[in-house]
Assembly symmetry: C2
Homo-oligomer: 442 residues x 2
């Protein structure tokens, strides 16, 4: 049992002074009568652990390499970006992916992220043959998260087609299990534990036929008691909507609904280009809408209807997706700021609601309903922010400071399941690891 005295802490929706928390076996427990005397002081503002609900770990190797450097170079479209992304995907092995993912997850840890949702589709050898352990890649990611010190929801992804009615092409043979039944057979062999959730993902309505989506959704729902997370890329690009309408006469959201894939454990990732009917379907099903604003800016996806989704009943979560940026504070504020750009009005999202998306709602969407709040019984996660940096000084110490002033560098320490990490000491090591790991795959 260890007790901490938090100078300031976000408890529920309030920032309180001098909050005493006692940690035992990775959980917050009731403090004993003399706990204050033994308490370790954590200066700054402590908030719950942050959930990064959408990650493609290997995209970290692309940061700084897929932009337009000089006028006259090819300007870079979504598709030229995808070509470079596929080139890295071709090269990865279980060992190099472990190293890259561990470094990337450590970057997340130092940014205050205590749990990652890894949308994982790079399953097989370069020619499509399964590895001796058919889950060698997935297990590499689980080991990377464990060794980095964060929790993981491995969202094992069913990816069967290059597009609607098109067989996998090129590197995509690494992604495909052939059909969703074989996908499920492989995934059944993955083992979760206290810090690992095995969940499911449908890559998109482009990459998985409707009947196969149903198979994945049924796997995720299991016996119907609680169900596992089921994530899916949804309407990130206008082209996806057009292709789906042409092939099926319905929007991607409508197709997912008919396939039985919408529900409270579903996360619709991006959800950028939606109709009113889509909004109603996602909202009434109580799905999570996982926005990835820094990636959506980077890829030029557009600005999704975050406020309208929430007003219809969907619950916002956040992800860093391509890792062009790993900064959960930037993701939080970007939801509000991009909505301001779209509407020319302020005040759509409150700081406290954006914090809810990044903490307890995010964790719940990844199958960790017992994380994301500073409360007895919850997992002992704490992200402690420096209130004296050039960015945060003088901004007060409310939820607005966290969401609208702080950056990843302001994270002074991170506790995950009771284990405390001091970030200043970690960062140089993390930079070294990232450099070595990206050079290994580029």
């Amino acid at each position: 049992m260890t007790t901490y005295l938090l100078e300031k802490a976000l408890v529920g929706e309030q920032v309180l002074d001098d909050v005493l928390v006692t940690v035992d076996a990775g959980r917050f427990v009731e403090a004993g009568p003399d706990a204050r005397d033994r308490a370790i002081r954590l200066p700054g503002l402590s908030i719950p652990g942050l959930a990064n609900c959408h990650s493609h770990a290997f995209h970290r190797a692309l940061r700084g390499h897929t932009q337009l450097g000089r006028a006259g170079e090819p300007p870079g479209t979504f598709w030229t970006w995808r070509e470079q992304m596929y080139a890295v995907a071709r090269r990865l092995t279980p060992d190099s992916y472990y190293a890259l993912a561990r470094a990337t997850y450590r970057e997340m840890l130092a940014a205050g992220i205590t749990c990652v949702g890894e949308f994982h589709y790079l399953h097989h050898q370069p020619d499509g043959t399964p590895y001796a352990d058919p889950n060698a890649m997935g297990n590499a990611l689980i080991a990377a998260a464990k060794d980095a010190g964060i929790r993981i929801a491995l969202l094992d992804t069913c990816y069967l087609a290059a597009g609607i009615g098109r067989a996998p092409e090129g590197v995509q043979v690494r992604y495909s299990d052939g059909d969703a039944t074989r996908w499920a057979g492989r995934v059944d062999a993955l083992k979760g534990d206290d810090t690992t959730v095995i969940g499911a993902a449908v890559h998109s309505v482009r990459a998985v036929p409707k009947d196969q989506i149903t198979t994945v959704a049924e796997w995720a729902q299991g016996d119907g008691q609680s169900g596992k997370p089921l994530h899916v890329h949804l309407s990130e690009q206008v082209a996806e909507n057009e292709q789906c309408l042409a092939a099926h006469g319905r929007t991607p959201t409508e197709l997912l609904d008919e396939a039985g894939a919408l529900g409270p454990m579903t996360s619709a990732v991006h959800a950028t280009h939606l109709t009113d009917h889509d909004l109603a379907l996602l909202g009434s099903a109580g799905t999570h809408a996982c926005f990835c604003p820094t990636t959506e800016r980077d890829l030029g996806d557009g600005i999704g209807p975050s406020r309208a989704l929430a007003d219809h009943g969907a619950r916002l979560t956040l992800g860093s997706d391509s890792h062009a940026v790993i900064d959960p504070f930037e993701e939080m504020r970007a939801v509000e700021l991009d909505e301001r750009l779209a509407t020319q009005r302020r005040g759509h999202w409150s700081a406290i609601d954006l914090l809810g998306a990044a903490t307890h709602d995010g964790h719940a969407s990844l199958g960790f309903p017992d994380a994301g709040r500073i409360a007895v019984g919850q997992r002992a996660d704490l992200v402690t922010l420096d209130l004296t940096s050039p960015r945060t000084a003088g901004t007060g110490a409310g939820p607005e400071t966290v969401v609208f002033a702080a950056v990843a560098e302001d994270v002074r320490s991170v506790m995950v399941d009771g284990v405390l990490h001091e970030t200043a000491a970690l960062r140089p090591e993390i930079g070294h690891e990232l450099r070595a790991a990206t050079e290994g795959v580029r």
Copy 2:
């Protein structure tokens, strides 16, 4: 004479290894034959000094205090934000403004900013009476920049009206000189020096009648040889356009053009909501277009036509304006990323062109044409970035790393006019100063 060996440096449009620069009396000079032996090594990537072309220093006191904290609070519009901003403006004295500006300029310094364009309109005592020194406030800002260690272009702002045809209201009496002739008389008493440019600003077409704009523009043009900087808020909000059209039958840009205020030393700040005719006028006059993306996001201004402005001949510059964020790297990338959100395409601005906006074009727009390049004869400014941080590691060391991966915290050292500042040692002091200075005026 001091010589530095830069591990990597942006020289022209190229990043070169092992660049030797010799500094004498604040300028880059030719290196002597044995300079390398005496050189001080600067690890990382060195780029030219960054110009922050639009600043309202006192807005720093608002950071973290004008957002929507909790659902149910007043959501905050541009106008409620302005109310809070005016409340701070009411309280400032030359002493408290000096302290706040110095802390804010030091935050800029640590972020790589070597020169600020201060759009300054808070001239008089709370009841509108001039101070004993009528330039007490402007001189406080000049002293603040000097003591912080950065250059300043004091863009002394003519602000005469609450709106078209409306006398100054409330705190605005502190802003008004009565008319532009009296404005010019006061400004003539301000003294520039090697690190201080005295320039002009027209607050906006709302705040200065057309004939008075002409007076300010003529003051700025002087004898017609080179001229002084002339900055103006332009079409930040749709409402300004509507009011100007209603009163004058022309757009704000057209009005400025007719008033003789557009030219190569003019900076049109924001330039968000423009017609095709406006684009042609601003482009053919060779004006600077000063974008302030983090503020434009914060205030919900919308996304201005940066690419179209440049294609018409205007030159982009950048400013942090309200200091919701002070991070010139975020401003650079936001121009491209917001254009992607508006168009759903990538590749409008190259990293090297965004660096040009933030360095030499920015400095030129502030009246420092001898800054913003690493070249013999230029002012000896260097911003040296850490390439080993969790953000920059593995991203290469090209212009894309600077623009798309780095943040203010990655600035390891800053040289201004030959004086080198190590940022890691400065930051705790800066935080302390910011806290004291903001508490003094809130």
